[in-house]
Every structure is written in C-alpha cells, then in structure tokens.
C-alpha cells in the first residue's frame, strides 16, 4: 500500500469545479501512477478540458483536493504556481504557439523560463526539434506551418523541459489522420522516456488502437474506468 502511494503522481479526491450554477466536474476522484498513460475520454462538455486545467492550476477546484507529486494545489501560493507548471508539458488542440516567435524561440521559451543559459538552451532545443522532425523549420514562424507541424512544435515544447507529466488536451482534434498518428507516436515516445501522459480525447479510434488506461467522463462525473 505504502509503495503504491509512493508510486502515485496525481491524486484527485472528490474534486468539483463549478462555473456559477453550472457544474463542470462533480466529485471526481482519480489516482494516476508515475509513468502511466491515461486517456480521458467522453463527449464534449464532459469535463475533460476542465480536469486538465485543474491539474496545471490553470483553474482552481471549487471543492475537493488535488495532489500533484505531493503538492496540494489548494495550498500552494501564487509564487509556487510557476514551479508547479514547470513539472508539466501541456499540449492543446489549438497549439497555443506564439505567432511572433520562431519555432526555435517558442520551444526555447520553456528553458528560458526555467533559467537556463542560451548556450545550454540551443543544443537541447535543436535535439528535441530533430526528434519531432521539425528541425529544418526552426527559424520559421508558426503562421506558415501546417496544422501537423504546429502540433509537432507544441509537442517539442512540451518535451523540451523533461517534464514529469505531459497533459494533452485534444492533441489530434484538428489534424488529419497521418499527422494525428505521428503526434501519437511522439506522445508514446515521451511516455517511454519516463513521463506520465494524460491525453484528453474523444477520438475513440485512437483509444482503441493504443494501450493505456481509459477514464470516461460524462457530465463531469466518472462514468467508467478500465
């Protein structure tokens, strides 16, 4: 039991999130082990994105407790939030790349934020860009890239800091099947490298084709877990 607890990286106890009268998450409890690969699925409005936001403290839970690597998110101060977020790599459906920065600069920002020096940043960014296969476009700006390329940059940004947890919110939602498959391979590689990966998706085919625990949400509640 003790060993199992030690192996847990995320714990959610009766977590609820309300926006006014609307309840986006209701009494959700979940434990995620280190280096686990989890799909969070469910229809639109089920609470998948809200759950992801609560984990990196993009939002705060209305009630319940969330522990990430031993840190109680309800108790951390404002100043500690950046440190918490540096443990995550987050990927979004709409990529969230800064259009006025080059591919290299977008990825390098994660390391600059963590306080690394430019000479340490360069090789690490180029290495990760090479791994996602976009190193030849390092000096391009995001608006000229295709959707698949943008998402590869987003994956590179999520990978470059060597995060403990990677959160992906509908990472393949706006991609063609080939690009989606490529992104999924990259997420697998991140998982194999030791990270815990949580993917929120409603792409049933993708879930069926890959191994991983599946958590199904419906109307903000846990509907099924297998």
């Amino acid at each position: 039991m003790h060993a199992e607890r030690k192996n847990t990286i995320i714990r959610m106890f009766n977590v609820s999130k309300r926006y006014g009268k609307m309840e986006a998450l209701s009494n959700l409890s979940l434990e995620v082990r280190k280096n686990e690969f989890i799909f969070v699925t469910g229809p639109s409005g089920a609470g998948k994105s809200t759950m992801i936001k609560l984990l990196y403290k993009g939002e705060s839970a209305s009630s319940g407790a969330i522990l990430v690597d031993g840190m109680n998110l309800a108790r951390i101060s404002r100043k500690q939030i950046p440190m918490l977020r540096r443990q995550f790599g987050v990927i979004f459906q709409d990529f969230k790349l800064i259009p006025t920065k080059t591919v290299f600069q977008n990825v390098a920002l994660v390391l600059a934020v963590a306080g690394l020096k430019p000479k340490e940043i360069y090789p690490r960014v180029m290495d990760v860009l090479e791994r996602v296969g976009i190193d030849d476009r390092a000096e391009e700006f995001p608006p000229v890239l295709s959707g698949g390329e943008k998402q590869r940059v987003a994956v590179a940004r999520a990978m470059v800091g060597g995060p403990k947890i990677v959160l992906a919110d509908e990472p393949t939602g706006s991609l063609d099947p080939d690009s989606a498959a490529h992104i999924f391979q990259l997420l697998r590689a991140v998982h194999e490298a030791g990270a815990t990966v949580i993917v929120a998706t409603h792409d049933q085919q993708m879930i069926n084709n890959h191994d991983g625990r599946v958590v199904r949400l419906e109307k903000g509640r846990m509907a099924r877990e297998n």
Binding site: G58, I81, P82, I98, A112, V113
Partner: protein, 293 residues
C-alpha cells in the same frame, strides 16, 4: 536576468514594430505639446522678468527744496531697503533730455517762460526687489519722505504685466498638469493595447511556468524604452520646430533686452526622465490587470 529581459524586450519591439511605433509617436506628440508649452512659458517668464529689470521709480522733488535738504533726501532714499542706485536728475537736465527726445518739435518748448519740470531722483531697485508688491511698498515709503512731491513707477504697466504674468503661471500649471495626466492616460492605454494584443502570449508563458518577473521585466523595459524614445523624439521635434520658426520671429529687433531661448539641457533631460517614468507607471497600471491570476 536583466540582460536576458533586455534582449527579449528588444526582440518584442522588433516583432511588434507597428504597435511600438504608434506608442512612441503618441508619446512624442504628448511630449512635444508639453515641452512646447514649457518653452513658451519659460520665455514668457524670462521676457516679463527682463522687462521688469528696466523698471525705475522716479521721485519728484518739491520746487523750493534747498541743496542740503536735497542731499539729505538722496541719502535717506539710498539707505532704504531695495534701493540699488539713486541718480539725481536736475530739472535742467530733464528739460534738455525732453528737448532731445521730441527732436524737431523742441521749438515748441522755446515758448515757455520757465522750465516746468521738477528736480527728480531716478531710483534703480535691487534684483530681489522687483515684485510688484515690493515696488509699491518702496514707492509708498519714498512718497512719505519730506520734500518728495510725487512718485511714479509705471504703475499701470506693471499692474497689467503682473496680471499677465500670474495668468501665465496659473494657465501654465493647469495646462502642464492636464497634458501630464493626458500623456499618462495615453501611454497607459497604449501599453494596455499592446498587452491586450499579447494576452495570448502572456497566457502561454504562464502555462509553461513563467513567473511574474519573467513576464513583467521585458514589458517594463519596453515601456521605459518607449518613454525614452518618445521623449527624445518629442524634444527633437520641438527643437526642429524651434530652429525653423524662431529666426523668422526675430524678437530681438523689437525687444533689445530679450532673446528667445530653447529649453535648457537639464529641463530636456527632466522631460525625457519624466517620459520614461510615465512609461513605467503606465505599464504598472496596465500590467496589474493582465497579470491577475
């Protein structure tokens, strides 16, 4: 940290050229208006001061005053506070002076039986005694002395100029304050506009773990740099307008005692410094809204 923030600020300025140029031009125009008014105000003040330097008090002496009485009176006036120089003008000197001044019409004076002008003292005041109240007080003291029949000191003109001077002062302060507040609001709103256009970028930076300092420092540096560039551009615009306009005004041909001067280097630096501070303050107020968790 600061060097890195400066590099990021510079990159941001290059990447968001248009917004920054708009902001710098806005600041430059505001600085131009404020400093143009200061230029006018400074010169108007200098002009009034220079004009007042020429003010003399004339004390007319009674007709039957003897030489020793007059000497005593001169000594008494000289010892009064605020008196710098006392010059005796005899009635004959005054008459000759008048003759010279009216030139060709001086023959009109030949018909007079006797010289109607009185003896007088022309009194120059010390530099610290040039305020209207001081001049009035001194004139009253002199007027109260024995053997003095009348005192004159261009009362009408001095009152009028004093009114104009005070109006300048009040208007100047009010206008500079209004422009200062307007500049602050313009800059705060321009920065807010820049921040608004970058809200997504700020949100992304926060998601990847940037702390507030990491986000704020470049923005503050950018705002201060905008203030600096806008301030310098505003002063340069004013200087350009000054060298193109002032030679055509040639005020020295009308007023020999006065020359229009550009605002001093110290004042220019103060304006640039204020402009940078306004940039900082504008950024401070804009940033608070965007960095709230």
């Amino acid at each position: 940290m600061l060097i890195f923030a400066a590099k990021r600020a510079l990159t941001d300025i290059v990447n968001n050229k248009f917004l920054h140029i708009v902001s710098i031009v806005t600041i430059a125009l505001s600085v131009f208006i404020v400093s143009a008014f200061s230029l006018f105000f400074n010169n108007a003040t200098d002009f009034l001061d220079a004009w007042r330097t020429g003010v003399r008090v004339i004390a007319y002496v009674g007709a039957n005053v003897t030489e020793p009485q007059r000497t005593r009176l001169e000594e008494t006036i000289r010892n009064l506070n605020g008196v710098s120089v006392v010059e005796f003008i005899s009635k004959d000197d005054a008459f000759n002076d008048l003759k010279q001044k009216i030139g060709q019409q001086s023959s009109l004076l030949d018909g007079l039986d006797k010289n109607p002008l009185p003896d007088s003292f022309e009194i120059t005041l010390t530099d610290s005694y040039r305020r209207l109240e001081d001049i009035e007080k001194l004139s009253q003291s002199i007027g109260g002395l024995p053997y003095v029949e009348d005192v004159e000191y261009a009362q009408k003109w001095l009152h009028r100029f004093n009114g104009i001077y005070n109006l300048f002062k009040v208007t100047g302060l009010v206008l500079v304050s209004i422009f200062f507040i307007a500049t602050l609001l313009i800059i705060a709103n321009t920065i807010r506009l820049i921040m608004y256009s970058r809200r997504e970028e700020i949100e992304i930076m926060r998601i990847i773990g940037a702390d507030e300092e990491f986000i704020k420092y470049p923005l503050f540096l950018e705002a201060v740099a905008q203030g600096f560039l806008g301030g310098v551009a505003g002063i340069l615009m004013l200087y350009l307008a000054f060298i193109l306009t002032v030679p055509n005004l040639a005020p020295e041909t009308v007023f020999s005692f006065f020359e229009i001067r550009f605002i001093s280097v110290k004042f220019s630096l103060t304006i640039v410094l204020c402009s940078m501070m306004i940039g900082w303050v504008g950024c401070f107020f804009s940033i608070r809204k965007f960095l709230k968790l």
